[in-house]
Subunit: 404 residues, 2 copies
């Protein structure tokens, strides 16, 4: 008998029919002899509807009140799911984030989980109930209702699985798992049955849309096996697990891409200690989330520094850097919003040195110019022109024989 | 500087425009130098919509989950009102029933308030905030979310006013106050500026729709002055206060009516101790809420007992009484669902003995037969044929010169 945490996203509980389908699946899992803890998101578009109401009422949205408002969405879906489970003869009980013992910091609208106190859930499980927990929310150390920000319901599920030492955390969504590339770009892309936490982290960080980096890192840190699967087909999906050294690893597991960033280049930067530190400290203080940074080696005493930022932060970034021109003595700032990132991810790269060359050759032989390069032991990312991103993903998917 | 509790019902916060109008009124009250605590109901039809969703999902509605579901409605309106107040520069903070310290018993869907722990609200007031509290809900002694049943938001407001020792509890609704009769029946009916708790209790108990008996009794027991007024016109409404012995009292303040009950008559009941007790104990055990009871004096050793019950309880009542026929030895049971009650209420009756005669004469001279009579020091109620109720209300309103 296993303890399974099952998390259902907004489309999975989007209407009454969907909620009854989810209840049926939970009931089957329970009757197969497992203990189940369910985590739900708000129904379909309900969060958008609440935000629209808030916009109609006020131009100001105090974060505490926004959290109070938005947390009602998950409460509605969890109580409805409990009723649907009762209809199937399954004893269930709903728990708010606070009741489930999800303790967060006081940072409204993007709180971080500090601690899980699962006593009440544990007792409900021991008493034969299926606890149904509101995702995305917790209670702060000030006893206020908080929300966990984007991807928060997945984090709730992973954190509860860790706190309850569950055997697996199943993330139900509207796709059947993690794919070798975005199927909208590469029709031959196929579901990957099994990836390591390391690979999944790199994929999430470089444009994979199925899981947010935050949940993957949480699961990795607490050793919670994840199983991403579809609540529409219910078929087995992708397992995300500790790397298994006994298995032969795919050299390249997936091609990911991302077109949401822009590039800033600072040219003629004096090559002396502390210059880069002041630059990126200033950007951090403006709340700019710098992603990739590349600095060329210099020979004439000056260097170029390029970095990428979310497109929405581009104007702030340019102004911030421009302000430092005199103090740091660099020559100029240029930017390019029309870039994209294409990446290959694979645990097997560590032991196969030819991968980088193959990637560069594939791009070069198709006249795709590489503007920036960044690597980790299991990742190679290239910044290229945005127009080249889709062909590049298709070419790399073919070059590494991922359609097989 | 006064401390004012302002309660807004569902139509008062029915849409974004209404919420902004309420925020404007709260802001004015605040800027006039008062401390304000607001209690809100769920927006307009939102409770009905949640119930419809529940019906679509399940045939079973566990009371705990129903409470969890329905309490989201007030949470949405309270956080939206706080945002609208923030937009007007008024510092406000929302509080769930639990956060507001409303402690109830464990009777889900119709919990009773056991205690108010207003520390958190008191601190918010002292810190310069307008607390906005979710009506209709509390937290049980088992730490579960409960609802207070029908009229629950009024009870929340009165209970908080009592707990905070507020100067007045203002109940905002869609009518301008308490009237001398239902204006749909008596077009000349007019708003009563001031009634005593005793009169208001009798009016609420005999068909007045503005306030439920439960809230009036709570306010009377804790000496909380009530002010019932309109959130559409904002004009002064009706004050419900302790009887003021120095003022001359109206003989009759209002005519009320109610057509929701049915009459049961048990005939030929042996006139010996304990018979009535067994009859009404049996009905109580079936959950029947018996209202008026009249027993005629007997001369031949048997008597007739008539009583009224809600029309929905009529079938149960008849069956319950019928079951006791042999044990109690009465002759038979008859019932009449087509009755109505017309009542006159007035504190001045206590000192004006002619009122009863005037009432009976008014009905008799218009050929309206009285089937049952019940009196209290400030109330006379007659059960008559349902078809006679509207004319009776009009005749009595004129006879006691309430249109003046």
């Amino acid at each position: 008998m296993a303890l399974i945490v099952q998390k259902f996203g907004g489309t999975s509980v989007g209407d009454a029919d969907r909620i009854r389908a989810v209840a049926d699946h939970v009931a089957r899992t329970r009757r197969a002899g497992n203990d189940v803890v369910v985590v739900v998101s708000a129904m379909g578009k309900s969060t958008d509807n609440l935000l629209r109401l808030a916009n109609d009422v006020s131009t100001v949205m105090p974060p505490r009140e926004l959290d109070m408002l938005l947390t009602t969405g998950e409460r509605i879906s969890m109580s409805l799911l409990c009723m649907a489970l009762a209809d199937l003869g399954v004893a269930a009980a709903s728990f708010t984030g606070s009741q489930a013992g999800i303790i967060t910091d006081t940072d409204h609208t993007k709180a971080k989980i500090l601690e899980i106190r699962p006593d009440r859930l544990r007792k409900a499980i021991d008493d034969g109930f299926v606890p149904v927990v509101a995702g995305f929310q917790g209670m702060s150390t000030d006893h206020e209702i908080t929300t966990l920000g984007r991807g928060g319901s997945d984090v709730t599920a992973v954190a509860l699985a860790a706190g309850l030492k569950a055997d697996v955390c199943e993330i139900y969504t509207d796709v059947t798992g993690v794919f070798t590339a975005d199927p909208r770009v590469v029709p031959e892309a196929h579901r990957i049955p099994r990836v390591s936490f390391d690979e999944m982290s790199e994929m999430a960080a470089t444009g994979g849309r199925v899981l947010m980096l935050r949940s993957v890192e949480f699961a990795r840190n607490h050793g919670v096996p994840l199983h991403v699967r579809s609540s529409f087909t219910w078929e087995p999906g992708t397992w995300i697990v500790e790397e298994d050294e006994t298995m032969e690893q795919a050299i390249v597991s997936a091609v990911t891409h991302d077109t949401s960033e822009a590039k800033v280049t600072v040219s003629g930067v004096p090559d002396r200690p502390g210059v880069a530190a002041r630059l990126f400290r200033a950007l951090a203080e403006e709340g700019v989330n710098v992603d990739m940074i590349v600095q060329n080696t210099s020979e004439d005493g000056s260097t170029d520094i390029s970095f990428t930022v979310p497109q929405g932060d581009l104007a702030t970034s340019e102004a911030t850097v421009e302000n430092l021109k005199e103090a740091l003595g660099f020559a100029g700032v240029t930017s390019d919003p029309s870039i994209g990132r294409v990446s290959i991810v694979g645990a097997g790269m560590k032991t196969h040195p030819g991968v980088t060359a193959t990637m560069f050759e594939t791009l070069a032989s198709n006249d795709i110019n590489i503007e920036m390069i960044s690597t980790s032991p299991i990742l190679i990312s290239c910044i290229i022109n945005q127009d080249h991103v889709e062909p590049a993903v298709q070419l790399l998917h073919a070059a590494f024989e991922l359609s097989k």
